[in-house]
Amino acid sequence: MLTLSINYVSNPSFSGDKRAMATSLTINGTAHQVDLPDDVPLLWVLRDEIGLTGTKFGCGVSACGACTVHIDGEAVRSCQIALSDVQGEVTTIEGVGSPDAMSAIQRAWVAHQVAQCGYCQSGQIMQAASLLAQNPAPTDAEIDEAMQGNLCRCGTYPRIRAAIHDAAARMKEA
């Protein structure tokens, strides 16, 4: 069995009066000033401070992918990026599309009725969007490679795979 070093235990503890100065972030094209300690992970800045709850907390140790966002277009685990380390523009699921204006990948997700409980799907979509940006026509093996960090306890994988292939086709037509 693996021995796990828990992320938040290994972090240095806070000194009582340590307060960071306001940090500037650009999220989904909007500038935000955040007044939180430097080492608060981006995930918790998004969820509890900005109120963008589409990005989910699953494990806190980069093992499930539920918290995946983009920084300058690249998929990262927001539970592992400290506030002070955020360099670049952040895109969350809310920035990919809205219910009234869904992106091609979200439309593919709906068309294939991918979600079951749906909790992991924001992260799945963010990871898949990053894959498709780099590789407009991924093979099954390339999908396996790119998506294996994203856990889904409902087991929606067959439909995620189908939706990625479909999104690739939709984006090619667009």
Partner: protein, 746 residues
């Protein structure tokens, strides 16, 4: 939207509580309507607890937990089918915790019959017993019962509301109701003019409800079809609200630590470091644990981890080996139940070959993707609760008790569930959130558990053992004598809900073992309860989750001893016993091109489990890829009689299978020093994209009675994989998980 939580008298009972065979459980009580929990506001009419019409349109109530199984959509479709409304023009809400939303199907499942051999009399008896669900306010989502429960009642709710609206229109227009029709939320007059339902709602509310006949299935527009799920856009855009996403003005965020020695109390704690950490507002002494309220969940987690706590020991043996020794001891005691005892297993048929085997499966965590959490707001005389949960009326009762309030003073808001699998039928996360909120009156507080806290404080699928003895003769099974031992999750759950120790024969402990549709002349199955205090609970498919593995691995072993193809061996015993079950086996035989032969480097296994009224057969194929074994393909056939939404059923079938394969491959909760040794997904992994098989599902519809969908896909997955691994390697593994014995792809 109506103000919710108070009671109006004016309501009506949907469907009759016909009592069959003279069974009567307080006829007055069961025929008296459960109070309508919807209190219509000005300009609104709640025609019954499931349909609300106001000036904004039609709202349907689907008071079952949406945890991925699609119940919100299919439940709404049952009402809409008769009410004549378009699914994209209505709102569907979960609604409050209320006795009116009882589950009629749940209690019937407790009858000591095998299920597949149920007679019409027993079926009707189970239906009649369903009314007990109402008496007990059993608003529960579980046991794969939602469609059985809602199938008739919700169509009747829709039909009666429709006819009442038509009656209101008839009186307004001065015509007979029979001259009117309905379409897309309107009553259509004889001259073709249309009256929208909202215009008729207030008049309809003054009428006695009108009874109506249900439509012939041939007229259905929604049921039996693949409907777009109502939650799909929200779940694809990050806008669906789970419990953890609830945001209220002035809200604070908390996290909790309970004793990792489960059930042990707390000696003392030192919070001096935690109190001065950034963002911390308050440390809360829960008596048996500690919580920190902060400005941010992560800051709360940091601080609660920084509290030094001394814990008392757990009330069970501290190491895994000693725990399983205790489970094995249960075999020496008289059985709790013997629910099948056909022929005489004491006499070995002459000329038969005997075979014995012992199997062991570990404790398992539910590991929902959304960690346990809930939000509560306490204002002295009232408590509001927000969160995903599978049993709102019980949750209401439990958190009312924790807050010293009456149930009426507690309002439960049920959100989407980021996975349930049985875990969110418990109340601990609600009670903890309530206690934390009570320390912060008039401030909404969301209490979120770290993944580690969630993994290490579950109500686990109990570890279980089976001792199987069988005999084959002339290529057939002639004797099966099986015994299973584990803790009783039923008895524990009864005690948690009622406060009284559960007792009596536990059907759940032996389900999947005693009720399989095989014609074996000498067939006895007993259940033994291990006396252990580890918290255990209902895990997707419950007893079937271990018994399916025991029974179907043993069937495979018997087939090989008999020198028979394992699929044909089963089919022969099944054909005369239950045709729909045999049909599932025949379907996977055809779908997979089963020949009984596999080339080098390929292994195939078959397994079958009848559970929750639904027979499911699966064939799984594994490949040896340079010494690493990959699950390549899977074929599933199921027969639940009527599949109300076939694509949703397919999703539940492959999802249930993958949940089972995750456990079969990697799942094990173990104990050291009284604490669970697993913390997070790196040491409790699951099937992922690259380890998930290609899958094909066939949905058959020959079964006479309606079966469930959410759970039956899970049990056969584990033995089908084990049987495939045996076919590939010649190695028979009788202890899970398989990753301990094979080099599986990870």
């Amino acid at each position: 939207m109506a103000s919710i939580g108070k009671i109006v008298r004016r309501t009506f009972l949907i469907g009759s509580a016909a009592i069959v065979g003279g069974v009567a459980f307080g006829a007055y009580y069961v025929t008296r309507p459960a109070a309508n929990p919807l209190k219509p506001g000005e300009g609104e009419a709640a025609l019954n607890p499931f349909v609300l019409i106001d000036q904004n349109g039609v709202t349907l109530f689907a008071p079952r937990a949406e945890m991925g199984q699609g119940v919100k959509t299919t439940w709404a479709a049952l009402i809409a089918e008769e009410l004549d409304v378009e699914l994209d023009q209505i709102t569907v809400l979960h609604g409050p915790a209320a006795a009116a939303y009882y589950n009629t199907a749940m209690i019937g499942e407790g009858l000591p019959n095998k299920g597949y051999d149920i007679s019409n009399f027993q079926h009707n008896l189970a239906e009649a017993l369903g009314v007990i669900g109402k008496v007990l306010s059993l608003q529960v989502t579980g046991g794969s019962t939602s469609m059985k429960d809602g199938f008739v009642r919700m169509r009747e709710a829709g039909a009666s509301a429709r006819e009442t609206l038509k009656q209101a229109a008839a009186e307004r227009l001065g015509v007979d109701r029979s001259q009117l029709t309905t379409e897309a939320g309107h009553v259509i007059a004889p001259d073709g003019s249309k009256i929208p339902y909202p215009e008729l709602a207030m008049d309809a509310a003054k009428l006695d409800p009108v009874e109506a006949h249900l439509r012939d299935p041939g007229e259905w527009r929604y049921l039996g079809k693949n409907l777009p799920r109502l939650d799909m856009v929200g779940k694809s855009t990050g806008t669906a609200e789970f419990g953890i996403d609830v945001r209220l003005p002035g809200m604070k965020f908390a996290s909790v630590r309970m004793n990792p020695k489960l059930g042990g109390s707390m000696k003392s704690f030192d919070d001096s470091a935690a109190k001065s950490m950034p963002g911390v507002e308050k440390v809360v002494d829960l008596g048996d644990g500690v919580a920190v309220v902060a400005s941010n969940t992560w800051l709360a987690i940091q601080a609660v981890e920084a509290i030094e706590v001394e814990w008392e020991d757990a009330p069970y043996p501290p190491e895994t080996d000693a725990i399983f020794a205790k489970i094995a001891e249960a075999f020496d005691e008289s059985p709790n139940s013997t629910m099948r005892d056909d022929g005489d297993v004491g006499v070995m048929p002459e000329g038969a070959t005997e075979i014995t085997a012992e199997y062991t499966v570990p404790y398992l965590a539910h590991a929902t993707m959304e960690p346990m959490n809930a939000t509560a707001l306490f204002s002295g005389r009232k408590l509001e609760f927000w969160g995903g949960n599978q049993a709102p009326t019980f949750m209401q009762m439990k958190i009312a008790a924790a807050a010293n309030l009456d149930s009426e003073q507690v309002e439960v808001h049920t959100t989407y569930l980021g996975g349930g699998f049985g875990r969110r039928g418990e109340f601990d996360f609600g009670v903890i959130a309530t206690k934390v909120a009570m320390a912060m009156p008039n401030v909404p507080v969301q209490t979120t558990w770290s993944r580690e806290e969630d993994m290490r404080h579950d109500f686990y699928r109990p570890g279980a053992m089976a001792r199987m003895r069988g005999a084959v003769k002339d290529g057939k099974a002639v004797l099966i004598d099986g015994r299973v031992a584990s803790q009783s999750c039923t008895h524990q759950a009864v005690e948690r809900i009622t406060g009284f120790a559960g007792g009596g024969p536990d059907k759940v402990l032996v389900e999947g073992l005693f009720n399989q549709p095989y014609a074996v002349p000498n067939y006895r199955i007993s259940g033994h309860i291990a006396d252990l205090q580890i918290p255990v609970g209902f895990w997707r498919s419950v007893g079937n989750s271990h018994n399916g593995f025991f029974h179907e691995t043993f069937m495979d072993e018997m087939a090989h001893t008999a020198g028979r193809d394992p699929l044909e061996f089963r089919l022969e015993l099944m054909k005369s016993e239950h045709a729909p079950s045999a049909g599932c086996l025949e379907a996977v035989r055809e779908m997979s091109g089963w020949t009984g032969q596999t080339p080098d480097g390929v292994g195939r296994g078959v397994a079958f489990t009848y559970s929750f009224g639904t027979p499911v057969a699966q064939v799984i194929e594994v490949l040896d890829e340079d010494g690493t074994i990959r699950i390549n393909k899977a074929w599933i056939a199921c027969d639940m009689g009527l599949a109300l939404d076939p694509e949703t059923v397919k999703a539940q079938m492959f999802g249930g299978m993958i949940y089972g394969l995750s456990a079969a491959c990697y799942g094990a909760i173990t104990f050291a020093d009284g604490e669970v040794e697993q913390f997070n997904f790196p040491d409790y992994d699951a099937i992922r994209m690259h380890t998930s098989p290609q899958v094909e599902v066939r949905v058959l519809e020959t079964n006479r009675h309606m079966g469930g969908a959410g759970e039956p896909g899970t049990p056969p997955s584990m033995p089908a994989l084990g049987n495939a691994l045996f076919d590939l390697t010649g190695k028979r593994v009788r202890t899970l998980p398989f990753a301990d014995h094979f080099d599986l792809l990870v």
